[in-house]
């Protein structure tokens, strides 16, 4: 009885996803293996992989994702710990501080960084005033600047899952470990970290996916000389208007990001099971 109602209610969305999401992706895959004469071939993929520049773009994109994940983790874990050690008032503030950027438009967050990183921006001015640089420098259109901007934009994606776990966690676990004489670091590493690991992996997946595909930030902050996959894909459609090639390139993007994320997800599941073993 439950099963039939269940299926009826779930059917519309299931059908929608199959027909309107997965099917087009399937068509994309089919197009990507269409050779110049319409026969099935991997020519498009081969062209891409043989092109050093193109492979470089793919590699740079994944590397960008990895760099952003690293910096986000470096800044996100302390925030989570700060949350953990805070009372309800401060916890509320941290939550708001995390939610607000997440709910602010991507474009808004990006444009603020244009001014911050520019030659006449606060970073450049501070560097000059502190004597660390002889003349104003612009971090705009550099990968460092891009990583800085993306880190701020993606930080909430990691912090939110961490906070979600911590808000449910039992304080007594830590208190117990402290009573038994463990130092702060030990408590963190042996009690908190295992508890947070699934959320960390979940956050990593989200951050990686978002950082690698953020067309707006990459274009605006990265500029014309830093080229990543989203721009590459958009170009192929707009300039060369060749569907099979564009399909192949975007499918490669899908596969490569998919592999990374699948790996992370599997790690998460493995770790989670291990934690409960």
């Amino acid at each position: 009885m439950q099963k039939t109602t269940g299926t009826i209610f779930a059917a519309p969305m299931l059908m929608m996803m199959l027909l309107f999401f997965l099917a087009p992706l399937g068509v994309l895959a089919v197009f990507s293996v269409l050779g110049p004469d319409g026969e099935v071939s991997l020519a498009n993929y081969r062209t891409f992989l043989a092109d050093d520049f193109a492979v470089g773009v793919l590699f740079d994109t994944i590397l960008l994702g990895a760099k952003v994940v690293a910096t986000v983790t470096l800044l996100g874990l302390p925030i989570a710990l700060l949350y953990w050690h805070s009372g309800p008032g401060l916890r509320g503030l941290i939550l708001i501080a995390t939610l607000l950027p997440m709910l602010t438009s991507n474009v808004v967050r990006t444009f603020a960084w244009i001014v911050i990183l520019g030659r006449n921006g606060p970073i450049s001015q501070s560097l000059v005033e502190l004597g660390l640089s002889s003349r104003p420098i612009s971090l705009l259109f550099t990968e460092t600047g891009l990583v800085m901007a993306l880190t701020q934009i993606e930080l909430p994606l990691l912090v939110l899952p961490l906070i979600a776990v911590l808000s449910q966690a039992d304080r007594r676990l830590i208190d117990a470990s402290e009573v038994l004489g463990a130092g702060r670091w030990r408590s963190f590493l042996t009690v908190l970290l295992p508890m947070l690991t699934p959320a960390i992996f979940a956050g990593w997946v989200l951050v990686f996916a978002s950082a690698t595909t953020s067309y707006v930030t990459q274009s605006v902050i990265g500029g014309a000389r830093l080229i990543y996959m989203p721009r590459f894909v958009y170009r192929e459609v707009g300039i060369l208007f060749q569907w099979p090639m564009a399909a192949a390139i975007s499918f490669l993007l899908l596969i490569s990001t998919g592999i990374v994320m699948l790996g992370l997800t599997m790690l998460a599941r493995h770790r989670r099971l291990a934690a409960y073993a």
Partner: protein, 346 residues
């Protein structure tokens, strides 16, 4: 129960406000009597919206101005399988050749344009009226850099190191400049390799590689660069913003290019497109666009060169302008665009 009633009340209000919101924008019936006109982003878009659009609306047609670069217009037209995304295109001969070859534009009937006879002869093309001739050269800041003598000067003279911005082949202005530079260095419209070699050698001395012509304008305003390839219209616009800016004719010749309106094949309402074309070449509009801040050279014979135009180019200079070989350029442009990215990528 009071709480349940107020809850259902709230739900009713929430649901109906969502529906109203949705209705607000979704009533976009395909009404005949409308024209979607592609216009270059930035000052062209602003100018056409404030000056040309009202006249079209007065004539009884609905007009949407859509900002999109000439080369991108071609891309979108070619990628569209069914109905064309734009009814009216605004492009230069390079794009016209591509569109003609792909059968995407219509030959027009000049009898439907009441202002057709006012046009100068060279502006009357079978596929539509030219609305201006853009004269291109080098925009520079006279307060920070010397006046460049030509394109070669920009690479040879140390005074320009780190101050010049360049963009890729997606822009007509840039393509013309690069073609001239290729000629200076032993190449031409059929051989762009000297340019790529020149770029590769001088990358670290270049001020910036920008993403678009308008991005260069922004960088100029922010003081990040002082020189870029531009039309006289760009310089007029910078002046109108109160910035010091001057125009230098390259000694090899100023590339000039007509800008023409075309009717897309399958336009939803040809009469609306004709009304739009008529408005753009009318004496009132051309006279207004010839003034600041736009300073567009008129193609309507009734409109004289204004002071602001004469500051940068005289009719004689226009006669000596260089007209690029768009056919040859068109063959290679896509590969040049891709190659440019490769050369400038870090």
């Amino acid at each position: 129960m009071k709480r349940t009633n107020s809850r259902s009340g709230f739900l009713a209000i929430a649901a109906s406000s969502l529906v109203v919101l949705s209705m607000a924008g979704s009533v976009q019936a395909e009404n005949s009597g409308s024209v979607v006109a592609a216009v270059f982003p930035g000052s062209w878009e602003d100018a056409y919206r404030t000056v040309v659009a009202p006249i079209v609306t007065e004539a009884g047609f609905d007009i949407t101005i859509s900002p999109v670069l000439a080369q991108d217009q071609v891309g979108k037209m070619m990628a569209s399988g069914g109905k064309p995304p734009y009814d009216a295109l605004l492009v230069s001969p390079g794009q016209t050749a591509m569109l003609k070859a792909a059968g995407l534009i219509e030959e027009i009937d000049p009898s439907k344009l009441k202002n057709w006879d006012l046009l100068i002869d060279s502006a009357k093309t079978p596929y539509g009226p030219s609305v201006t001739v853009e004269v291109n050269g080098i925009a520079y800041n006279p307060e920070t850099v010397p006046k460049p003598t030509g394109y070669a000067d920009l690479f040879a003279n140390p005074a320009f190191e780190g101050r010049v911005a360049w963009i890729g082949f997606g822009s007509n202005t840039a393509t013309m400049a690069w073609t001239e530079i290729a000629k200076i260095n032993g190449g031409g419209a059929d051989n762009m390799q000297p340019v790529f070699d020149l770029l590769a050698k001088n990358l670290n001395k270049i001020g910036a590689i920008a993403t678009s012509g308008n991005a260069q304008m922004t960088m100029y305003q922010q003081g990040e660069i002082d020189v870029f390839m531009a039309s006289t219209g760009n310089v007029a616009r910078l002046r109108s913003l109160g910035l010091p800016a001057d125009f230098a004719h390259p000694k090899t010749g100023s590339p000039a290019v007509p800008v023409t309106i075309h009717m897309a094949k399958g336009a939803s309402d040809p009469d609306a497109v004709y009304a739009y074309m008529d408005a753009a070449i009318s004496t009132t509009v051309q006279a207004q666009l010839a003034e600041a801040p736009t300073g567009y050279i008129p193609t309507n014979s009734q409109v004289p060169f204004t002071d602001i135009i004469l500051q940068f180019v005289t009719p004689e200079q226009l006669d000596n302008a260089v007209f690029p070989d768009w056919e040859t350029i068109g063959i290679h442009r896509a590969e040049w665009t891709a190659e440019f990215d490769r050369v400038v990528a870090k």
